[in-house]
């Protein structure tokens, strides 16, 4: 299974597959092959809970192809708990900024044709 497929499998379980550098302990999303901090290419898998808070977001009303039936929806950047990592995804049924103040608790709940799925906790 490719790393991306593993990441998708974990997202479906509400988890995030990350890579921890064995040299400097820097945590990365699992798509990196070399550490940005120290250049090492040795990583160990670390599975995080996909929980956190909304770092920023937008509500899309003019969507790309395939998203018409979901509009309006939010694109969310999620600050993961207990780490400096953020991860982005799709959040359904958000219509106005009142629905999603920055800082709202949220979690990864799946993966489908809309990419990583995030829901409010």
């Amino acid at each position: 299974m490719s790393i991306k497929e593993q990441l998708i499998e974990k997202a479906k379980e509400g988890k995030v597959l990350t890579h921890k550098c064995t040299q400097c302990s820097q945590l990365h999303l699992s798509n990196v092959y070399y550490c940005q901090n120290c250049g090492s290419k040795e990583f160990q898998d670390e599975i995080l809970d996909g929980t956190g808070s909304v770092a920023t977001y937008t509500i899309i009303t003019v969507p790309p192809a395939g998203f018409e039936k979901y509009t309006p929806y939010a694109f969310v950047v999620l600050q993961l708990d207990k780490t400096n990592l953020r991860i982005s995804g799709f959040m359904a049924k958000i219509a106005t900024p009142k629905d999603l103040p920055v800082g709202t608790r949220a979690k990864i709940t799946g993966f489908d044709e809309r990419g990583i799925i995030i829901e409010k906790q």
């Binding site: 937008t58 009303t61 991860i87 995804g89």
Partner: protein
């Protein structure tokens, strides 16, 4: 390193154009050649910047252009770096002249997409993001910049009306530019009442999808002097990178590649941000211009919005930002934009900018990036 000069420059009008991508590429290049007063046979190679040639059934534009110019034996290449393609092509051409490989090059940027419609462009442009995390999750480009705008509103003392002021200013400048796409005076209310595209950004916070081509002739100082026409000197060239996705950036209200590129360009030129008389910056969305003016060092982080509120970035104020009208009003043919900014600087510094002339300007800066600033180039020019 050879001194590098811009000897000529030309653009088509930006907007909805009827002619083919090959035709507008050639038209802009011919305008640049005539402005430079050279013979096409003086050109040693062609650098073409373009992203979606496939939309008009013509990629590999270089040989088509060179054939149309009667120099089909000369080499050419195409460069794609999303909305930053033009400045990246310019940089590669600059490096080749500076290294002494060539003494005269044509750099032409072009885009033709308006015939495809909003859904096609919104979808295809999203492929310039870090698609697995962003485009795939439904993030359009307005959506990604709206995410930066939301972060800015959260972090700093700013309002959506402040963003609107950037659009109003750039439309004022664009009214003075006969080649601008959106030649229309607008008010803050017009922006605030326009349809929401990606909250908090509204239609008038967004640049248009445009067709257009821009071209410059780049040469060694020796070649420029022998030619005898007006020219300007490239005194700084810098590039930088950022994490491809917004999520990977330490701060979502700053674009790291801009800071790195600007630092490199200022260092090469031996000047600082204070020495810049005017700048063409990448205002694909109103929030972007505010972030750019901070990252380029014109204002402190979080203070760019105040500068806009106080009118300090208007034409012939403290620092004229986007005298051409910027991407917002002049238009954004994505492959052409970075070259078009150089055309504006050339026109400004050689007395061809008409009613939008920045008074007594000697030093101009261009800033152009791809995607949400994942790639960036900054160039600094000086009148001779």
């Amino acid at each position: 390193m050879e001194k590098v000069c811009v000897l000529g420059a030309g653009s088509t009008k930006y907007g909805k154009l009827a002619d083919s991508i090959a035709d507008i590429t050639t038209q802009a290049s011919v305008a640049a050649i005539e402005s430079a007063g050279i013979d096409p046979k003086d050109i040693k190679a062609g650098y073409i910047s373009n992203v979606f040639g496939v939309a008009d059934k013509q990629v590999h534009l270089g040989p088509v252009l060179m054939s149309n110019l009667g120099i089909s034996d000369k080499p050419s290449l195409s460069i794609e770096s999303a909305c930053g393609s033009g400045s990246v092509a310019f940089r590669e051409a600059f490096a080749n002249v500076a290294a002494g490989f060539y003494d005269c090059l044509v750099v032409t940027g072009v885009e033709k997409v308006t015939h495809t419609g909003t859904e096609w462009t919104t979808t295809y442009f999203s492929y310039c993001s870090d698609f697995f995390y962003e485009g795939q999750a439904g993030a359009s480009f307005p959506g990604l910049f709206a995410s930066m705008a939301r972060a800015y509103l959260t972090e700093f003392n700013a309002t959506e009306e402040d963003f609107a002021r950037v659009a109003v200013k750039n439309h004022e400048n664009g009214l003075l530019n006969p080649k601008a796409h959106l030649q229309k005076k607008i008010t803050i209310d017009d922006v605030m009442n326009s349809a929401v595209v990606a909250s908090p950004l509204k239609l008038y916070d967004c640049c248009p999808f445009s067709d257009g081509a821009s071209s410059v002739i780049l040469c060694s100082e020796k070649f420029a002097k022998e030619n005898g026409n007006n020219y300007i000197e490239v005194i700084g060239s810098g590039r930088g990178g950022s994490p491809a996705a917004l999520q990977g950036r330490e701060h979502m209200t700053t674009i790291p590649s801009t800071k790195i590129a600007a630092e490199n360009a200022y260092k090469m030129a031996g000047i600082t941000a204070k020495d810049i008389d005017f700048a063409e910056v990448h205002d694909c969305f109103t929030i972007a211009e505010i972030v750019d003016t901070e990252d380029l060092g014109f204002f402190e982080k979080g203070k760019g919005v105040q500068a806009v509120r106080e009118g300090r970035t208007k034409l012939n104020s403290d620092i004229s930002i986007n005298p051409s009208g910027g991407l917002k009003s002049k238009g954004h043919p994505i492959g052409a934009t970075g070259v078009g900014q150089v055309v504006e600087v050339f026109d400004q510094l050689t007395g061809r900018a008409g009613a939008r002339t920045v008074k007594d300007a000697k030093i101009g800066l261009t800033h152009n990036f791809g995607a949400t600033g994942a790639s960036c180039a900054v160039h600094i020019f000086q009148s001779v």
